[in-house]
Symmetry: C2
Subunit: 110 residues, 2 copies
Amino acid sequence: MQSSFLNGTVELLLMAVIADGPNYGYEITQAVLARSGGRFDLKEGSLYPALHRLEREKLLESYWTEHDGRRRKYYKVTAVGRKTLAARRSEWQTFADGVKGVLGLEGGPA
Amino acid sequence: MQSSFLNGTVELLLMAVIADGPNYGYEITQAVLARSGGRFDLKEGSLYPALHRLEREKLLESYWTEHDGRRRKYYKVTAVGRKTLAARRSEWQTFADGVKGVLGLEGGPA
DNA sequence: AAGCGATACTTTGCGCCTCGATGTATAATA
DNA sequence: TATTATACATCGAGGCGCAAAGTATCGCTT
């Protein structure tokens, strides 16, 4: 029982952060770390493939900028990405309620 | 973004159900389905490998019984399994709070 | 008797995805 | 020059849920 609960969730977290405004990879990890109360420290190995997947699925689009002599790749959520994000948030809540129900925690389903 | 949030969670769900009393595979899936409000319909392909993993890790132990001419394999939680379950429940709550924090849902971390 | 559905368990392969590691590149600092 | 910070890319290993297929027994129906 050593697995991480993160599996399958990273894309949702990324979308949520980017939905609040265009952002680039490194800064996104900072935002996720902050908003999760220091709980989620996303690794490059999963971060960038996830961003690329989301872009391939047309949920995100990207553009390169230059900042202080360095390149940055910003991502922004597409219109269809917004709809998908809303659906996934709802799915996550349903999922979480289900887990609570099984674990016997407060807030589980009746 | 087609992945399931269930990844990494199944073992926790199984342990939680079995912690309430010894049970066998088929009945465990029924219990999970009921306690989750119909949300989690565990498949054999993940159920049994997960039970076997937990047993291999000494968190569960099993024994065969016969019921109405059919065999049944009951699982019960070991002492170390109980400790591990408690830890994992706590980890899950921490995880869920983290997700809430990133998604901007109620109950997330400050 | 044969077929089907329910009950119960086992196993395999596929596809997905995070982690850890490695590498590239630029700027600033020691 | 070497190191650290910033920023992105990619690969392979390992884990794991899903779908499918298979075994087996019992009870019911035709």
